[in-house]
Structures are given as C-alpha cells and as structure tokens.
Assembly symmetry: C2
Homo-oligomer: 143 residues x 2
C-alpha cells in the first residue's frame, strides 16, 4: 500500500488532500508490520515534519474509517494499526517481527453458523486474530 494509493482513496471519498495527510500516509506506507498511534507520532517528530499529535490521530482515524488501515488488538492489550486492503479479512500477527499477514475468510462460515445455531445468537460481526511465527522468522531472519 503506497502513500499515493492512500491519498487517492482519501480523495475519492471526498476528503481534502492536504500536506499533513500526505505526510501521515507516507509514514504509514513506510511502516512494516503493526504500529501504534504513538509510533507514528514519534516518527513524525523524528523526521521533523511539523505534524501535530491531534492530526496524526485524526488521520489514522480517517484511514481506519475508509478501511485503508485496520486496528488490531494485540494480546498485550495495546491498540495497533496495520495497512491493509479494504475487504473483510483477518490478520495473522507474527509475534517475532510484528508483521501482519492478511488472512482471507478461510472457512470460518460453518463454524460461525454452528455457534449461531447452538447459542441462538444472531451474529452481526466477528473478529479472528491469530498469533504465531511467520515463515521468514522461523528461518531465522528476525528482521
């Protein structure tokens, strides 16, 4: 996901294309794996962009609304974001390098149907998060 692609989606949705937003888009695009809002704020300061805290949070929220970035809740309880394609899917998060792989729906349907039936529960949404170690990290390349 490039910064340009992010900005294009933003414009398509009727939002203004501004310099601060372009900067945040670039920071997101430059990130590997997941990151917190705080990480982005730090990046912004380190690179001497004049991006304010509030703007970083707001832009991230905007990207999330547009589905360009998704929030994942790490086992530690902190909130992280990952850039991803705007279709329904889940994430496999590598606990070693922090990268998030997209996981397609993957036969969860029957399991969900079973749950709905057994519990007489009307499912409106669900979230699956898988944690583990990716192939690259297993081969020893921990970065």
């Amino acid at each position: 996901m490039t910064a340009d692609a992010l900005m294009a989606s933003l414009e398509r949705a009727g939002h203004r294309v501004t310099t601060p937003r372009r900067v945040v888009a670039q920071l997101v695009a430059d990130r590997e794996g997941h990151f917190t809002a705080g990480d982005l704020v730090d990046d912004a300061r380190r690179r001497h962009t004049g991006i304010g805290r509030a703007t970083a949070f707001r832009t991230l929220e905007l990207f999330t609304e547009l589905g360009l970035v998704e929030r994942v809740d790490l086992p530690s309880g902190s909130h992280a974001y990952v850039a991803c394609e705007p279709v329904h899917h889940h994430h496999a998060i590598c606990t070693s390098c922090g990268r998030a792989l997209d996981v397609a729906e993957a036969g969860l349907g029957p399991a969900l149907d079973g749950i709905a039936r057994r519990l007489d529960f009307q499912i409106t949404s669900h979230r699956l998060e898988v944690f583990g170690v990716c192939a690259a990290c297993r081969r020893g390349a921990t970065r």
Copy 2:
C-alpha cells in the same frame, strides 16, 4: 461464578485471602456481562467499600492470570472483562445487553490448519470474538 468460588481458586493458587480481594470478588460476581476496570472502581466507591484504585486493578489482573476472568477487546477499542470458566473458549458478546456467552472451540481447528498451511505460519494462539444480539435481546427483553 460466585465470589466464594473466586476466592477458593485464589487460595488454591497460594494467594492470600484478604478482605479487599473478597470485596472485588463480590463486585465481579454481581456483574452481569462485561465490565471495565473503571466500572469496578466506580462500583467500589458507590458501595463505600474502602477499596483503592490500585487494588481493584491488581485484583482484576490476578483473577485474569488465574483464568477466572478473561479480557475481551470490544469493537470500541476499550478493554473489558468477563467472568468465565478457566478453559480455552471464545466469547459471543451481545451488543445490546453486554452479556458474554461462552463459545466452545467449535470446529475452528480445520480453519486454523488451513490458514497455517496456506500462509506457512506457525500458529501459537488465536482469539475469536463474535458480536451480535442474543436470543433474550431479540425477544425484546433488553435487560
């Protein structure tokens, strides 16, 4: 899950049985559905127990470690807890009344295997959260 059961597990694990912990256990037992740490602190103050903020957090953390209570991440991003049995399972959270139903493993295995194979990813843990409306709420009893 009664307050006594909570305290019994606590004692079995070699922790001291103290009055503040008993109070927190009672607060947890009296709760329906999910609640945040802040909710418990408020309960404690409202009932004029002399429980300090730190103790409420600490006790909740302790219960979580022992698996007597489990943390769930709500779609809103806030952290909530639910009392539950200490075996691996997932939760179906009713967005209307806030109650959490326990969901047994439910045929997730094949789906996870598929993910592991396709992505060449070694899964160490996973979390499934299902949101929707429970049977009672669908019938109109919103509390």
